[in-house]
C-alpha cells in the first residue's frame, strides 16, 4: 500500500522540553490510522507540526509525494491535508450554513473567485453534509450557540466540505454525548470508505480507536513507543505501562 503521509524522524522542542523526539510514522492511502498516548505525550504537537502551525526542529514530512514541513498552514490545507481541533474552532458569529460555505475550498483565490457569488449547489452540498452529521435542523443557528459536542460535529462537516484527501482528527468523540459515539464511528467509516478520505485519528476512547483503526501508533514522552494492529497494541506491555504510569 502506498503511503499518503510520511513523517520521518521529526523532532520538536519547546525551549528545553522535548515535545517530539525522532517521531516517524506513515499512513497508507485510504486507511484509518490511530494515534494514542497518555496526556502530554506530544500527539497534538505532532499534528501541529504536520499541518504547519509551527516549524519543526528536525526531520521531514512528506504528503502525497511532496515535502511540506516548511509550508505555511493554508498551503498545506490547499494540498488536501486538513485537521480538526481538540478544542473546537468554528466561526461563532455566523450560522452553520455559512460556516460550511466558508470551509468550501475554491481551488484558486483570485479577484474573480473572491468576488463571485456562492453557487447554489454549494449550499445544497452544505445542507447534505449537515444532514450527514445530524445537524440539519440546526443549520440556521449561530455556530457559537451550539453545544461543544455539536460544534465538534460541525467541525467534522466543515472539514468534509473542503473535500480533503486526508483528515487529521483530534479526539473526534471527546465531549460528545456517549449515545452518539456509535453513530460517529459509523460516520467516520463512511467518510473513509465512500468519500475516500484517509484518516489519522487521535483518540483517548480505546473502544472507539480499536473499532476504527487498522493500525495504531502509540506515543509516550514525545517518542514513538509502539505501532501495530489494534490487537498487537492491546497486548503490548510497553503501551500498558505507559498508560498506567510505570515506565
Amino acid at each position: 500500500m502506498a503511503s499518503i503521509l510520511r513523517v520521518d524522524k521529526v523532532s520538536k522542542y519547546f525551549g528545553g522540553v522535548k515535545a517530539n523526539q525522532d517521531v516517524s510514522l506513515s499512513v497508507g492511502t485510504g486507511s484509518i490510522v490511530g494515534l494514542i498516548g497518555p496526556n502530554g505525550s506530544g500527539k497534538t504537537t505532532l499534528f501541529n507540526s504536520i499541518v504547519g502551525t509551527h516549524p519543526i526542529d528536525r526531520g521531514a514530512i512528506e504528503f502525497d509525494g511532496r515535502e511540506i514541513s516548511t509550508l505555511p498552514v493554508p498551503a498545506v490545507a490547499k494540498l488536501g491535508l486538513l485537521r480538526t481541533f481538540q478544542q473546537t474552532r468554528i466561526f461563532g458569529k455566523v450560522n452553520c450554513i455559512q460556516n460550511m460555505l466558508i470551509s468550501s475550498n475554491p481551488t484558486k483565490e483570485n479577484l474573480i473567485t473572491i468576488f463571485s457569488k456562492v453557487p447554489e449547489e454549494l449550499t445544497e452540498k452544505a445542507e447534505n453534509l449537515l444532514k450527514f452529521v445530524g445537524l440539519h435542523q440546526k443549520r440556521k443557528l449561530l455556530a457559537g450557540d451550539l453545544s461543544f459536542g455539536q460544534q465538534k460535529l460541525l467541525e467534522l462537516a466543515m472539514a468534509l466540505m473542503n473535500e480533503p484527501k486526508m483528515l487529521l482528527l483530534d479526539e473526534p468523540t471527546a465531549g460528545i454525548n456517549p449515545t452518539l459515539i456509535n453513530g460517529i464511528i459509523d460516520r467516520l467509516i463512511t467518510v473513509n470508505k465512500e468519500f475516500g478520505i484517509t484518516l489519522l485519528v487521535i483518540e483517548h476512547n480505546m473502544r472507539v480507536i480499536m473499532n476504527l483503526a487498522q493500525e495504531i501508533y502509540c506515543l509516550a514522552h514525545g517518542e514513538m513507543l509502539a505501532s501495530g494492529t489494534p490487537e498487537e497494541i492491546k497486548n503490548d506491555q510497553r503501551v500498558l505501562d505507559a498508560y498506567l504510569g510505570a515506565g
Binding site: 504547519g52 502551525t53 509551527h54 516549524p55 505555511p72 498552514v73
Partner: protein, 297 residues
C-alpha cells in the same frame, strides 16, 4: 538632513548622555505600562497623559513658589488617587472585555485628559525651573544640566524601590500572583479587584514621578502625552513584560535614538521618527515571527 554630529564626534557623547538620562524616565513609564499590561491585560493609551498630568502637578507647585523637585513626592501621591479613581470609574468595567474596548476607553480618557489640562493649564509650553545648574565635561565641550542627572537618579531610586516592594510586600506578591494567573489567585483568596485598583494606582504614581521629573528636565504641553504612551509601548515590546534590565536598556536606547534623530533630522521630525520607529519595529518583529510560522499576538 544634518550630518554635523558625525563631523564633531563630541556631539555624539552629548547626545548619548542626554538620551540615556532621558531614557531612564522612559523606562520608568514603560515599567508602569508593563505592570498593568501584565496584571490586567490592558494597554493604557492614557499613560502619556498621566505623565503630563503628573508634570503639571509639579509645575503648579513651582508656580506656587515651592521647589518643583518636591513634586517627586507630592505628584505620585495625588496621581495614585487619580489612578485609583479612574480604575473605579472606568477601567473596572473594561478589564475582562474585548481588548479593543479597553484600548478605545483609555483612548477616550486620553482625549478627555488632554482637553481638561488644556483648560486648566493653558496650551503654552511650560517648564518648571529647578535652578540646579549645569555640569561641564570634556573641557566644557559637553554640558549636562544637573536636573537631568538628578531626575535619572530619582528615577533609578524609585524603580529599585518598586522592585523591592513587589518582591517583599504582601500587596506586591498578590500583584505578581494575579499577573501569573488571575483565576488561581482569586481562588486562593486574593481580592483581585483590590489588586487591579492598586496596580492601576501604582502605575499612575509612577507616571506622576516621571512627569514631575520631566517638568524640570524637559517641557510640558497638554498634547504631548501620546508620544510617551507609544514610547513605553515600544520599550515593553522590545524588552518583554517581565524583564527589568531589558526595560532599562531599551529605554535608554530609545532616548539615545531620539537625541541622534534630533541632531540628524531636526527637532521637527522627533515625534515623527518615534512613531515611524514603532511601526518599523512591529513590522520587523512580525516578519521575524512569520518565518517561524508564528504571529505577534
Amino acid at each position: 538632513m544634518d550630518l554635523l554630529i558625525f563631523q564633531v564626534p563630541i556631539l555624539m557623547v552629548q547626545a548619548s548622555l542626554d538620551g540615556a538620562l532621558l531614557g531612564i524616565l522612559f523606562a520608568l513609564i514603560a515599567y508602569g505600562m508593563a505592570l498593568q499590561w501584565g496584571v490586567m491585560n490592558i494597554i493604557n493609551i492614557a499613560q502619556g497623559e498621566m505623565v503630563i498630568l503628573g508634570g503639571y502637578i509639579a509645575y503648579t507647585m513651582y508656580v506656587m513658589g515651592i521647589h518643583p523637585a518636591y513634586g517627586v513626592i507630592v505628584s505620585p501621591i495625588i496621581m495614585y488617587f487619580i489612578g485609583w479613581l479612574l480604575y473605579k470609574l472606568v477601567i473596572n468595567r473594561v478589564v475582562d472585555r474585548d481588548l479593543f474596548i479597553s484600548i478605545l476607553a483609555t483612548f477616550g480618557i486620553s482625549i478627555l485628559t488632554q482637553q481638561l489640562m488644556n483648560f486648566i493649564f493653558g496650551a503654552d509650553v511650560v517648564v518648571a525651573q529647578s535652578n540646579f545648574g549645569t555640569t561641564l565635561l570634556f573641557d566644557d565641550m559637553v554640558t549636562l544640566p544637573n536636573a537631568k542627572i538628578f531626575s535619572a537618579l530619582i528615577g533609578i531610586i524609585f524603580a529599585i524601590g518598586l522592585v523591592l516592594y513587589m518582591k517583599k510586600s504582601k500587596l506586591g506578591r498578590a500583584i505578581r500572583a494575579t499577573s501569573q494567573n488571575a483565576r488561581a489567585a482569586k481562588i486562593l483568596g486574593i481580592d483581585t479587584e483590590r489588586v487591579y485598583a492598586a496596580t492601576f494606582g501604582i502605575n499612575a504614581a509612577l507616571c506622576g514621578v516621571a512627569g514631575a521629573l520631566i517638568s524640570i528636565t524637559f517641557t510640558l504641553h497638554p498634547y504631548v502625552g501620546l508620544p510617551y504612551t507609544v514610547r513605553s509601548f515600544m520599550i515593553v515590546i522590545i524588552a518583554g513584560l517581565g524583564n527589568l534590565p531589558g526595560v532599562a536598556l531599551s529605554g535608554m536606547g530609545l532616548g539615545v535614538f531620539e537625541e541622534f534623530s534630533d541632531y540628524i533630522l531636526g527637532t521637527e521630525f522627533r515625534i515623527g521618527s518615534v512613531f515611524t520607529l514603532l511601526v518599523l519595529i512591529l513590522v520587523y518583529r512580525r516578519f521575524r515571527l512569520s518565518r517561524k510560522r508564528e504571529y505577534l499576538e
